[in-house]
């Protein structure tokens, strides 16, 4: 029973964080750009949503505004990178630290409680759902919608151009496409989703805090990689998008389970690092293993050939 509840709780958190992971997937996997802005834009989404809710706006409208606020953050990173030629990682870091101050400006303080305020969970709890189940339901609905939209978008001419930019920038430039704007659009879309996810998480956990984005990039990367390792790169693009969200859920479930098993929470970061390192090392390990096998096969073939020759002689 306990484990079932733990998985339920983890899934509800994972699905909300899954939207952030989808955003990170766009930059990390599609654009091939490690975007560190997300630590800041996640908290930005939470901050924007929280301040709007406490000033009497509808929680749904606050999600929309958080989405656009996030896209602005992405645009800043994009402009720093494309126009001012600042290396991608550094551009992300710069926006991330700037957002720390921005978030405090937005909230006017470091922490806004949402306990007892109207959030999107007010609606689900009016159907008699617990906060955990409500978050799970809302997260699943939004994930499904976002996956559908992303699948459609990356099939359009613009979306394909963004994908191509990530795979082979020079080639795309040769085709007469402005890769700078492709990168900017990708970063805007990505950070918009990250902020949207931050807004959902803030509403679900009952507060927004300037520190709520800490570690977002690592959580996101771990989720993407776990999803890829477990579900593989099969079928088509929608399957990869889904595996990203499932990766995020699995990441949370792994953490919830090891906590339930009694692992010290102080070892969590080590665990995360080990999971990510293992998953990242997989391609290399695979390659070494196949090379080793090939060598074995070659040796066997040579032996049999030699045997054949010997038998002929």
């Amino acid at each position: 029973m306990g484990i079932f509840l733990a998985i339920q709780g983890a899934a509800s958190q994972g699905v909300l964080w899954g939207l952030m992971t989808l955003g990170l997937f766009i930059t990390y996997k599609i654009l091939n750009f490690a975007d560190l802005t997300v630590d800041g834009s996640f908290a930005l989404g939470g901050s924007v949503s929280a301040i709007l809710i406490t000033s009497g706006f509808s929680p749904y409208l606050s999600l929309v505004i958080a989405f656009f606020a996030g896209s602005l953050a992405g645009l800043v990173t994009g402009l720093l990178h494309t126009k001012l030629k600042i290396p991608g990682i550094l551009a992300g870091i710069l926006t991330m630290i700037a957002l720390y101050s921005v978030n405090i400006r937005v909230m006017g303080q470091a922490n806004i409680p949402l306990l007892g305020q109207e959030t999107m969970l007010t609606l689900t709890s009016s159907f008699g759902l617990s906060k955990t189940l409500g978050s799970l339901l809302i997260g699943s609905i939004f994930s499904a919608i976002v996956i559908a939209i992303l699948y459609w978008f990356f099939g359009t001419e613009l979306g394909s151009a963004i994908r191509a930019t990530g795979s082979n920038e020079k080639m795309v430039q040769a085709l007469g496409i402005n890769t700078e704007s492709m990168k900017n659009i990708g970063l805007m879309l990505s950070n918009a989703l990250v902020a949207f996810s931050g807004a959902l998480v803030a509403q679900s956990q009952g507060y927004a805090d300037v520190g709520m984005g800490t570690g977002t990039i690592v959580i996101g990367l771990a989720s993407i990689i776990i999803g890829e390792v477990i579900f593989g790169k099969r079928f088509s693009f929608w399957y990869r998008l889904m595996s990203v969200v499932f990766g995020s859920i699995l990441y949370r479930i792994i953490i919830a389970i090891v906590l339930q098993l009694g692992m010290k929470s102080t070892d969590l970061k080590l665990l995360t690092a080990v999971i990510v390192a293992l998953a990242l090392a997989l391609p290399v390990i695979n390659e070494k293993m196949t090379r080793h096998q090939k060598r074995k096969i070659n040796r066997l073939q040579k032996k049999t050939e030699a045997n054949k020759k010997a038998s002929i002689q």
């Binding site: 306990g2 720390y100 101050s101 470091a110 922490n111 520190g211 709520m212 776990i226 390792v229 929470s265």
Partner: protein
């Protein structure tokens, strides 16, 4: 092919962990009172509060491992973990939850309205919306506030440096608790006719530069119970002590780390007070809703003698007497 093998390994890891859990569940049938303790981050003051909590419960006859079982978890400063841990405590059907620091308390309070929650190291539970009012919580949350005797600390500066004209207020602009205390400190400084300079930092890397910018401009520096400054005390003292500027701080842990003096909250005593409240809930069946938020009575005067020697400051006799108590 190999990829599949890893995939299977990964899944089996999860399955094994799950079955391990079921087994451990089956063996763990005891009637101990379950207490979940969630701490936001490793920090001298927060660790001390937790130690005080455990010791107070032991004094009241609730010894960890005997009649109670405390499940202590630290969120490592990652707030997503706060929620996962809070969910774990609720799934485990804890009888009581201790939450140390504001985001931890908010995460727990958001998820349960029935399990009694004790909070500590939260400066103003009311503005964090954890309780309806500090005098009469009206929710399942109560506990202790770490509001420091700010006024007494500013008065202490006046006692140590009678000719003080300007105080530098050193704090992290993003910590709500710090801003709250600085506002109180400014009021007190205004009342005493002392002027002040704000020196805010937003990351621990900035501490050194910001402190250096104060040298020559102020006669004393004051920091409230600010987590970032608390972690960077050696840096601050490393600049201020050679410059012979007294550094008055918000709590005792910061004095031990190199600050000159404080009238401060003792987080261990605060944790103890919280533990006593927990015992009242467990033994006497009191309800958090009717238990007012408690404050630590009276500050402890604390002095770092090494820093005092380095600055070459003479501590008034009456303060030294308080130290002996």
């Amino acid at each position: 092919m190999k990829r599949n093998v890893f995939r299977i390994l990964f899944l089996s890891f999860i399955v094994v962990s799950m079955s391990g859990f079921f087994l451990s569940c089956a063996n763990k049938k005891d009637d101990k009172i379950k207490i979940g303790a969630l701490q936001l981050v490793e920090h001298v003051a927060l660790d001390a509060a937790y130690a005080g909590f455990v010791d107070a419960l032991a004094e009241e006859g609730y010894i960890d491992g005997e009649s109670i079982k405390i499940d202590f978890q630290n969120a490592q400063g990652e707030q997503a973990n706060c929620q996962t841990i809070a969910q774990k405590f609720i799934n485990d059907k804890s009888d009581l939850i201790l939450a140390i620091a504001t985001p931890a308390a908010q995460a727990v309070a958001n998820l349960t309205e029935t399990i009694p929650i004790l909070i500590t190291a939260v400066t103003d539970p009311q503005s964090a919306m954890l309780v309806k009012s500090n005098e009469m919580p009206g929710t399942n949350v109560t506990g202790t506030s770490d509001l420091t005797p700010v006024a007494a600390q500013i008065a202490l500066i006046k006692k140590l440096v009678p000719e003080v004209k300007t105080i530098g207020f050193l704090y992290n602009s993003s910590e709500q608790n710090s801003k709250f205390q600085i506002d109180l400190a400014k009021k007190e400084a205004d009342a005493l006719g002392i002027s002040y300079l704000d020196a805010t930092v937003s990351s621990s890397n900035e501490i050194q530069q910001v402190v250096q910018s104060l040298v020559g401009k102020v006669d004393a520096v004051y920091s409230p119970t600010d987590n970032m400054i608390a972690a960077g005390i050696p840096t601050v003292a490393g600049v201020l002590n050679p410059a012979k500027i007294p550094f008055i701080v918000g709590e005792e842990g910061m004095v031990q780390a190199g600050g000159l003096a404080t009238y401060g909250i003792n987080y261990y005593a605060l944790g103890k007070q919280t533990g006593k409240m927990a015992a009242e809930i467990l033994r006497d069946g009191k309800k958090p809703a009717t238990m007012p938020i408690q404050y630590l009575q009276g500050g402890d005067f604390a002095l770092n003698e090494a820093s005092a020697k380095e600055i070459g400051i003479i501590i008034p006799e009456e303060l030294l007497l308080e130290l002996g108590k």
